[in-house]
């Protein structure tokens, strides 16, 4: 499981970085989205990988903490996802405005000669 997750995070980060370095605004948005998926998975993995362990204590009391998943990274991921959503939406608006004002989709507003 660790290997699969590591490869997934690596692939997402690699593609994200490559896309962010591309000159088109659309590639930038997709690149940043991929990067944020990678980061979210990374935060999640920092709570250690467990299968079938609930993050919330049951009604019977605490019991053995090792039976539970760490709830904090899950809460952090949730926050990060929400913030990522909002900023990506904002970036999309700016992208459209830039497209309208400059007439092309190059990040510098003009084609490289």
């Amino acid at each position: 499981m660790e290997l699969t997750l590591a490869i997934a995070i690596g692939a997402l980060t690699g593609s994200g970085v490559w896309l962010v370095l591309r000159p088109r605004t659309y590639q930038l948005v997709i690149g940043l989205s991929l990067l944020s998926y990678a980061v979210n998975l990374f935060i999640f993995s920092m709570g250690r990988l467990t299968v079938g362990a609930p993050p919330v204590l049951g009604p019977g009391g605490a019991g053995n903490p090792a039976d539970y998943a760490d709830p904090i990274p899950q809460a952090l991921v949730l926050t990060a996802i929400v913030i990522g959503f909002a900023t990506t939406a904002l970036l999309l608006v700016v992208l459209l405005v830039a497209r309208g004002l400059t007439g092309n989709d190059h990040v510098d507003g003009r084609e490289q000669r």
Binding site: V20, T25, L28, L32, L35, S36, V39, F42, I43, S45, M46, G47, R48, I72, P73, L76, T79, A80, I83, A86, T87, T88, L90, L91, V94, L95, V97, A98, L101, T102, V107, D108, G109
Partner: protein, 546 residues
Amino acid sequence: MEWTRHLLIVPILLPLVTGAGLLLIDELRHTLKALLNLASCLLLVATAAALMHMADGTPGEGGALSLSYAVANWPAPFAIVLVLDRLSALMLALTSILAVAALVFSMARWHRAGPHFHTLFQFLLMGLGGAFLTGDLFNLFVFFEVTLAASYGLLLHGSGAFRVRAGLHYIAINLAASLLFLVGVSLIYGIAGTLNMADLAVRLPGIAADDRGLVYAGAAILGIAFLIKAGMWPLCFWLPSAYMAAAAPVAAIFVVLTKVGAYVLLRLTLLLFGATAGVSAGFGGPVLLWGGMATIAFATFGMLASQAMGKLAGYSVLISAGTLLAAVGLGDTAVVSGALFYLVSSTFSTAAFFMLIELVERARAPGADLLAVTMEAYGDETDEDEVEEHDDEEVGVAMPGALAILGVSFGCVALLLAGLPPLSGFIAKFAMLTGMLNPSGLGSPAEIPGRVWLLAALIILSGLAALIAMMRTGIQTFWAPLETIVPRVLVVEVAPIIGLLALCTLLAVQGGALLDYTEAAARALHAPSTYIQGVLGTGHPAGVSR
């Protein structure tokens, strides 16, 4: 808990409520919105002053004090805390005073150039207040994002192709930096098992040697995220063009944004990797020192090479960022104390410069430089703006003797940026240089390492470069034109500039009071145990590891 403790949450709640409330008011009622915004900013100044008094409150002993406020009434380190100490109180006061100045300036015309200016302005203040007060790494991220989200909106305020292009770069870079921030935070959490800064400081020395590398990696990635915001070379290329593109009042308030990065670096390096950190003590110091020096050198050349005044101001932001970072990297109490004084003085003077530029540009012939060309093009593109400018002809009181006032203000800003007497820029640089060259106090000579000499030389040379660049621009603007255009300048536009410069003069006259305060703040930063005790309570065992 006495009621005064609840003041700690005011710098977050007040702008949040005001900003949300302003959304409900119709966009056409500019004056009402501006007045509400101003009232909120003035209340923030009062709160910040009260908080500064509270943080400085321990009589005698000159001891450090840090107050913590459990937001949901759960004890630290399990829940979110706000922490007040001298440094955060100082930053809050700086921000709120700057906010008043920028807001008053914007009331002349800028706040009408687009929707929701006042709401975004208040949200920016909320994010800044939260970032200065929080005692928790993840909340720091949240407040950073609030600040940045508001700053994206404000940077684009007024629209136009130039601004949108700069805004696109600014947003993309800051989004990438935020992702690095998250990676760093989660790495540190994964190893240390806490996000509370004080708890982290307690646990770090006990981290197993095998895991220490990962903590360092996390801290370094986190550091890069802050250095992007603080504008350290080579992560600073976005800064001059973004600040130049922003509307004048927005650029003025943005000056404090780079200082947030420097603030966090100062706080975290001294808390986590300070004297009590055991083997990890001093981690990151050399990077900050050499990076800061490289920033000063880069910005010095940038300043000499800039034609447009906006670029000049952008590079002066970088010089002050570099100086602060290098001082943090040096980590000496006296230097940090001087650097805090420098932070206050340079923030005020650069903000005044950004506002002054807009007024001085009006006196220049159209097309005098790139910025003017762009502004013209932008003015021609949008019809609404033309209408608004015609509106301006009728309202507001014009300033008599505009050119003289602008010229004198420009001279004052030049003195402040160059660090020449008699204004506060000189005292700030003098305090830092004294700390560097007399590390063990006056009269007891000590061996000065070469890197300190280099930093001292760079600080002085950057002042010289600032002076040359400012003189050249000043002569071109005020003396060289054959036919002088007397700009129409309103009182509300000149008042904040004069106010900020008067504050700098006051800092020069009453420099001792602020220096005492910054010295106490620097001493407290170098003794993190007070901060830790303030957050976790006195009985907390030190050195507990997971």
